[in-house]
Every structure is written in structure tokens, then in C-alpha cells.
Amino acid sequence: MADEARLIAAAGRGDRDAFEELVGRRQERVFWTAYQVVGHFEDARDVAQHVFLRLWQVLPRYRPGWSFDAWLHRITINLAIDACRRRRARPEIGDSHAAEAVAAPGAGSPFRDQRQREIQGIFLVLARKLSPRQRAVFVLKEMNGLETAEIAEIMKLTPSTVRNHLHQARKELRRGLARDYPEYLPPGHTAEEEP
């Protein structure tokens, strides 16, 4: 996208208007990706802010030909996983993200409808059982549509490890859906095992 390449180049030279335009184009994906990994509104907001601060600092190093989205994903995922670890290291602050999705003060609903809001809440609850890396792999794969090889490059894991994290995440989420929210199991999927 030539227009975007120009924006990236201008932002790298210190053009703040170009950078804010770039932020505007990517902030939703960055925030929601961070939110699904960290599972907490304030932390996700902080991660998104830090992602773009970091981007502003390192954009002069960007070279045409690099995948900008992969670069942004890597910054986002690394900061989100760091945020997960900090939160887990401070149990005294609790894990306050309840099923009410994105309970920001005064927030309007970012969701298309009530069902989407419910699905968000279900994911927050069930994903607590996943490790930060499992969450990150699942989010990149099933929500952002990346391929295993891309995720492996972004997260510096082997493709086999990515597939393993993905399988563990899907199994855990499927088990949780079958147990607590069977009405949300995808059509044709059942909780029963083969005899």
C-alpha cells in the first residue's frame, strides 16, 4: 500500500501528523489484540499506548520491505505478555476482569450486538485457564487470521510449538464451552467423546 508506505516513512522522519494517521489506522486492532491477551481493560489500554510510544521510538529503524504489521504484532504481543506476567506477579491487585466485557467508565458498547458482548465475556472467563503464550497464539491465529509460520516468526517460537499452543488453547476453550456454555459450541460440535 503505497499510501501507507509514505505514511510510515514520514512518521519515521518525525512527522507527527503522519504518525497519528498511522495510529488511527491500527489502534483498534492493537487495542483489541492486547485486550484479548491480557484480559483486562486498563492493562490493554496501557499496552496499546506503550505499543505506539514504542513504535514512535523505533520507526526510524524501519526499512521498506519489512512487514509493518508483523512488526506491530510483535511489539503488541511482547508488551501484552509482559503485562500478563506483571499482573500475575501481583496477585494482591486481583484479576478483576469480570464477564462484563470492557467495563470502562463511561464506555459505549464497542460490540455489534448483545451476542457479541456475551461472547467477549465468555472468552475472558474461559481464557483465564490459558497461559499468556497460549492466549497470544490463539488470538493471532483465530482472531487475527495469521498463519502458523507468521505467528512463529512474530513470537520467536518454532511452528511446532505454535501448533502445540494453539491445540492446547482450543481444547481448553472447547472444554469450557461444553461445560459452561454448551449453547455456544459451534454447530456440529458436541461435548461428547467417542465411545
Partner: protein
Amino acid sequence: MNAGCREVVDWLELAREGRLASSLQARLRDHLNSCPGCRQEERDTEPLGIFADLTRGELPAGVENYILGGLRVEEDRPEAVVWSSASIWPALASLAAAAALVVVWATSGGAAVTPGTDVWLEAHAMDDAVATVEDIRSPTAEVLALSLPEPAGGRTEVILIVDGSIDL
């Protein structure tokens, strides 16, 4: 699940992505036909789909201003305070293969970094040498560091600029 099953399970996602070699597709089908455990695994690890749209919502109110507010506080690209630790040198010694002065920035988000923690290092201020951020896994810490494309001989100086602390 035996070793053969584990191999087959690893193929499932490759097959879903259309990347499994045709010679292995037949083996995968044969194995699934004869192994109830792997058929169950196949079902258990199918894409879920219902969560697919969760990174596509609009921003909640206030988030855009929060992000931009943080950016506007940073009038310029920051001049970081240099903090260096000799104890990091062994971890980076394998990188010391080029002549350019490399300045890397490590940020731990203000929290102490203990062994085993991912430390994010990135280019912050350096001359025009092109660098690539990549993983370096040392015995004492898991870090990201810079590698320079072509060793030019001589010695690389590495200065760590740390926001937070490294506790090794």
C-alpha cells in the same frame, strides 16, 4: 497417545492450512481412520470460530484519547538514561561481531526483570547501521537483542539502556 499419534496431531494444523505434503495426507487419513484418540484430538482442536471477531470491535470510549494523550506527552523521541551492566555482557557477547556502536534499549515496563523473563531490547539510537531485532536466549536471561547484518571486524560496543532494572 504414542509417538506416532503425536506426530499425526502435529500434522492436523498443517493439513488445515493446506500445507501438509501430499505424501503425508494419505498417512494422516489412514491414521485417523484407525485411531479413535486422534479422531477425538482432531475434533477437539478444530477452529472454534465464535471468537473470530473479537479483535474487530470499535474502540471503547476514551481509549483513543488515552493512546494519543500518551503520545502527545512525548514531544520528541526520548533521550534515555544510560544504564549498563557488565553482567549482561556475556549474554550479548555472541553478538559482538561488528564495528558499529550499537545502542539498545531494554524496557521491562518498570518492573524488575528476573532470569527467565522476556526482556525486550530494541534499536533506540544508533548510526545508520541496519539492525534486526531477534531473540537471544542466554543462560541467565531470555532477551531480545540486535544483530547486525554483516560483521565488519573489530569489536561491537553495546550499551544497555534500561527502563527499570535487571536483576541477575
